[in-house]
Symmetry: C2
Subunit: 184 residues, 2 copies
């Protein structure tokens, strides 16, 4: 199993679609559907992105998400941290303290500072995180050589999808009102 799972992957793929000239909020459902990824999982990811200050939600049934700041100010590391929290490369269990030679009372030279193995892991983690912080959402969007008009096409797809969902919601409301007896 990889270190970063599908939540990081889906979260990154979905948040990138919030970049664009279009200023309407997009629901997590639409973001999942346009990617072909599980809506239930994406619905759990976006509150984390919101909590981390990367997106803002506009309430209401037909509401959705917008980026909270410009896409050149959000890095891959920001998104990863928002979704994964404080997940580490390595958890040091201070094995050096248990050395049998010292019967539970290790000398100072053995336990001073950070364990050398842990220190090397921390350097590796720092280097990995620095690299993830080097790429922004804007870099990701620019890396996709989409043809002119693609952004508008996406906008139309999202609008039609949102409108269809709203129509189906209204029909459901109407039907439930029609079939309700006066006593309800």
């Amino acid at each position: 199993m990889s270190f970063y799972g599908t939540s990081v992957e889906y979260g990154l793929h979905c948040i990138v679609w919030l970049i664009g000239p279009r200023d309407k909020p997009v629901s997590s459902r639409e973001l999942a559907d346009i990617q072909g990824v599980p809506p239930a999982q994406v619905a759990k990811i976006f509150p984390k992105l919101e909590k981390a200050g990367l997106v803002v939600s506009s309430g209401g049934i037909s509401g959705g998400y917008r980026l909270a700041r410009s896409p050149e100010e959000i890095t891959i590391l920001d998104v990863v941290d928002a979704i994964e929290g404080d997940r580490r490369l390595f958890d040091c269990r201070e094995v050096r303290r248990g050395c049998a030679l010292f019967g539970g009372d290790p000398p100072g030279w053995m336990t001073r500072g950070v364990c050398g193995i842990h220190a090397a892991m921390l350097r590796a983690e720092k280097s990995m995180r620095a690299e993830l912080a080097r790429t922004t959402l804007l870099d990701l969007a620019k890396g996709l050589p989409a043809p002119a008009g693609f952004s508008e096409e996406v906008g139309r797809w999202l609008d039609e999808r949102a409108a269809a969902r709203e129509r189906s919601r209204m029909t459901a409301v109407k039907n439930s009102t029609r079939h309700r007896s006066p006593k309800d």
Copy 2:
């Protein structure tokens, strides 16, 4: 849960104890006991280190392991790869191919080359691995400011332990022979 688990931690802590002027092989049992870590887990780690060419075993009941090459030629990354195999930071599921706008037939510009998100993860992984390859077992040993004579003290502990285990094995063999009936 961290990316690298206890097997990597115990493996690194144990293999470091094979460094030294002492040229007797050490069993994985002794290596586990001197660290205070689970012998059964360490017994599963050393065959992986051997398969990767980092240690060599000398057979027999009282056998054990030696480093297969000098400790400045074995890096943390070598040990991690031997234990974890080809574990990745990120598994790309090619989400971009499932974009609903293209109904299962994404255009070339969408799928050409490595996905930008995957590429950023690969750069981060490369950077992390490069850092792990920078530290050798000798660096780890040198980082521990052990007092003069410590290496000999470790040697004595390991020798006594191995001798005690051999005595107890011989007693068990003797007893089983003594209690065996002639018909066995």
